[in-house]
């Protein structure tokens, strides 16, 4: 027997995996373009969050229809992929259904896969209808035109084709159908192929199935679909503090303490350990921290954040989902820039602020945390908005006039309005 198919299989498999690993290492490099951020502590809570939110899909069912359909696809994806192990062994060693000799358990497993494949198929069709026919609002917002829309549909087509190929390869496997164990779904499709060259169809479906899986794996890097991998680290590194708590910038604390300390010597040599910062806030992706950037790659553009955003609901330009998409798109651009310039970023005259995200979007945020609460995988758009506001205010003094007035009131008389601090207790006698 010729070893050619085994060889071709090995080449496809390993080059597919190698390409994937190469892209993942690029992804990792891009994420670490972000600044360091303290994620220590609360390890137990972090694990619990990951298990509950990611593995357990805890927040998905808040929207029951999308949630349950998603759980079907998720379970189907995870469980049916056990079959890939057998496909890989068969492919490499020229065997056929190597695990089929484990007895009735094999039938049970394949039967489970078939049922799941059918359920996934139905769920995907419903998903497609929701996006393209019913046009649920969050899927057709302005940031979802063009590639994001196509991306969403391509993923659905991939999945539907993979499921169809799986059922086809089972339905046309004469021996598998004769054994009549595990062919719960495929037995109904077997008659469709009667009189055709079953062996040819089975082989074609088998090859297309595994090649499809390898292509899909490599498609992830270019797609919003990365969430199937990144949701896990993202829910682990998601905030474990109360949502209302924003970080205090340490470098500012040092300066403020120095200013407030009457004994401080303003001309003293700067201690090397003292944290200093040459730029406050963020105008580009490198100014954000790596968890922000992980957030951006993890976003799968479901739009739950945007549909809960009070600014977006009332027609403002702000969309928390767009904040995440812009951050990711700019990060990809910066990454490509580094690739083409031999590992170094060459200034391209662009930045996240202005070229992607406008001031108008940033100032429309009420910091209400609805987006953070809505995200099913712990993404925090508010934190990025705040970093960019910090840049606007502390580096550019570019706050809206009314906010500058408010801030000078606080500076001068300790209240956001122009009232005298000495009048603070007047209410008592009125």
């Amino acid at each position: 027997m010729s070893l050619l198919p085994n060889l071709i299989f090995a080449i496809i498999l390993f080059s597919g995996l190698a390409f994937f690993v190469r892209n993942i290492s690029k992804l990792k490099r891009n994420i670490y373009l972000g600044k360091d951020v303290d994620t220590s502590g609360d390890t137990n809570l972090r694990w619990i969050n990951m298990v509950k939110i990611s593995l357990g899909q805890g927040k998905m069912v808040r929207r029951p229809i999308a949630g349950i359909l998603h759980i079907i696809v998720y379970l189907g994806f995870v469980i049916i992929n056990i079959e890939v192990l057998e496909i890989v062994i068969d492919g490499l060693f020229g065997t056929h259904r190597i695990f089929s000799n484990i007895g009735p358990l094999y039938g049970f497993l394949i039967g489970t896969f078939e049922v799941l494949a059918a359920l996934v198929f139905v769920a995907i069709v419903i998903f497609w209808f929701r996006r393209n026919i019913i046009k649920i609002q969050r899927f057709v917002k302005s940031e979802m035109k063009g590639w994001p829309k196509l991306d969403g549909n391509l993923i659905l087509y991939f999945e539907i084709i993979l499921m169809a190929l799986f059922i086809t390869m089972n339905a046309t496997d004469t021996e598998f159908q004769l054994n009549n164990s595990g062919n719960i779904i495929s037995q109904f499709f077997a008659p469709l192929f009667e009189g055709l060259n079953l062996n040819l169809i089975e082989r074609t479906a088998w090859w297309m199935h595994i090649i499809g899986i390898i292509i899909f794996l490599n498609y992830l890097y270019y797609s919003k679909h990365l969430h199937i991998l990144l949701a896990f680290p993202n829910t682990y590194y998601g905030s474990v503090k109360p949502k209302g708590q924003l970080d205090n910038i340490k470098a500012v604390t040092n300066e403020v303490k120095l200013m407030m300390d009457p004994d401080a010597d303003p001309y003293a040599a700067v201690d090397e350990d003292t944290e200093t910062q040459d730029k406050f806030g963020a105008s580009d992706v490198q100014d954000l921290n790596w968890v922000h950037l992980l957030n951006a790659y993890t976003c799968t553009e479901c739009g739950r954040c945007t549909s809960e955003c009070p600014a977006n609901q009332t027609g403002k330009k702000l969309s928390p989902r767009k904040i995440m998409m812009d951050t990711r798109d700019r990060l990809v651009e910066v990454g490509n820039n580094i690739d083409t310039n031999n590992g170094e970023f060459k200034a391209d005259g662009k930045q996240l602020l202005g070229d992607y995200i406008t001031n108008e979007e940033l100032w429309a945020c009420t910091s209400c945390n609805a987006c953070v609460e809505a995200c099913p995988i712990s993404i925090d758009p508010l934190s990025i908005i705040l970093e960019m506001r910090r840049y606007l205010v502390m580096e550019q003094s570019a706050a809206p006039v009314e906010l500058n007035n408010m801030m000078s009131n606080i500076e001068n008389n300790g209240a956001p309005w122009p009232y005298n601090q000495m009048d603070r207790l007047n209410w008592k006698n009125e």
């Binding site: 910038i249 100032w363 956001p416 009048d423 207790l425």
Partner: protein
């Protein structure tokens, strides 16, 4: 009534060498805004009635820095925070109550890492405790059967997971608590947070407070209860626009003070 308010300051306390049970952080709105001052006074009347040994900072209080921080001005925020912490620590303050969820959030979550570690409570939590300890009773008669809906302030609810204290208080009024479609974790913002209170909204097709007021109107309440002076302003404006004279906007503390004829 106001002439009978007892509002001692921390400075007065420190002269006597005694320490109050709790510091009442009034906040800028509670001190200066006409509508919010009524909430401040209602809360003080309840504290007086329950004979709570409290004090205020008075003229020594200053903005917590919340709107500055959320506008992105970290310097101004930390200057305010460090100044306030100096004052609070000099008086050896351990426990703070405030009727403003923004002050509540900032004092509770953002002051500790700057050296200000206090037990901070929202006034609805504090009132709930007084009730549980039997120090305060609520007479329900006045609001019996009234339809009241509670608007969750973002900085109390989502930001700090306090959802039940204000609702427990409203239920004690024998009122009919009706929930809006978006409540608790899904509560819609009133439009004031993140320093929006101090500026015009960006261009859109609607004001956020109108949207929220319409959500409230959908459950046909007689009263919209609030737990935040800024929400109160926004909802009051919304009601003026959409349902003038039909719906009242009241703070939870005002409801209770009112029920007790205070």
């Amino acid at each position: 009534m106001s002439d009978s308010l007892k509002v001692p300051t921390m400075a007065e306390f420190s002269v006597t060498g005694k320490q109050p049970e709790v510091l009442f952080w009034v906040g800028c709105a509670g001190s200066f805004d006409d509508r919010a001052r009524k909430i401040t006074k209602a809360f003080v009347r309840l504290l007086n009635k329950a004979e709570v040994d409290f004090a205020v900072l008075g003229t020594e209080e200053s903005c917590t820095g919340d709107p500055a921080k959320r506008s992105g001005n970290e310097f101004l925020f930390q200057m305010q925070a460090v100044t306030n912490i100096d004052v609070l620590n000099a008086y050896d303050v351990k426990k703070i109550v405030t009727a403003c969820p923004h002050c509540f959030n900032t004092l509770k979550n953002e002051y500790p890492s700057l050296g200000g570690d206090y037990k901070v409570m929202h006034h609805t939590q504090f009132l709930k405790n007084l009730l549980d300890e039997g120090r305060l009773t609520i007479q329900g008669g006045k609001f019996k059967g009234k339809r009241i809906t509670f608007h969750d302030p973002c900085y109390l609810g989502r930001a700090n997971d306090v959802y039940e204290a204000p609702r427990d208080l409203i239920k004690k009024l024998d009122a009919e608590l009706v929930e809006m479609k978006n409540c608790r974790k899904k509560g819609l913002c009133c439009g004031a947070g993140g320093a929006q209170m101090f500026k015009d909204a960006e261009k859109g097709d609607k004001e956020i407070n109108i949207e929220r007021t319409e959500q409230a109107m959908a459950v046909k309440p007689e009263i919209i209860a609030a737990g935040c002076p800024f929400c109160n302003t926004m909802m009051t404006d919304g009601v003026k626009n959409k349902a003038e004279g039909q719906i009242e906007v009241m703070d939870v503390a005002e409801l209770i003070a009112n029920a007790n004829d205070l």
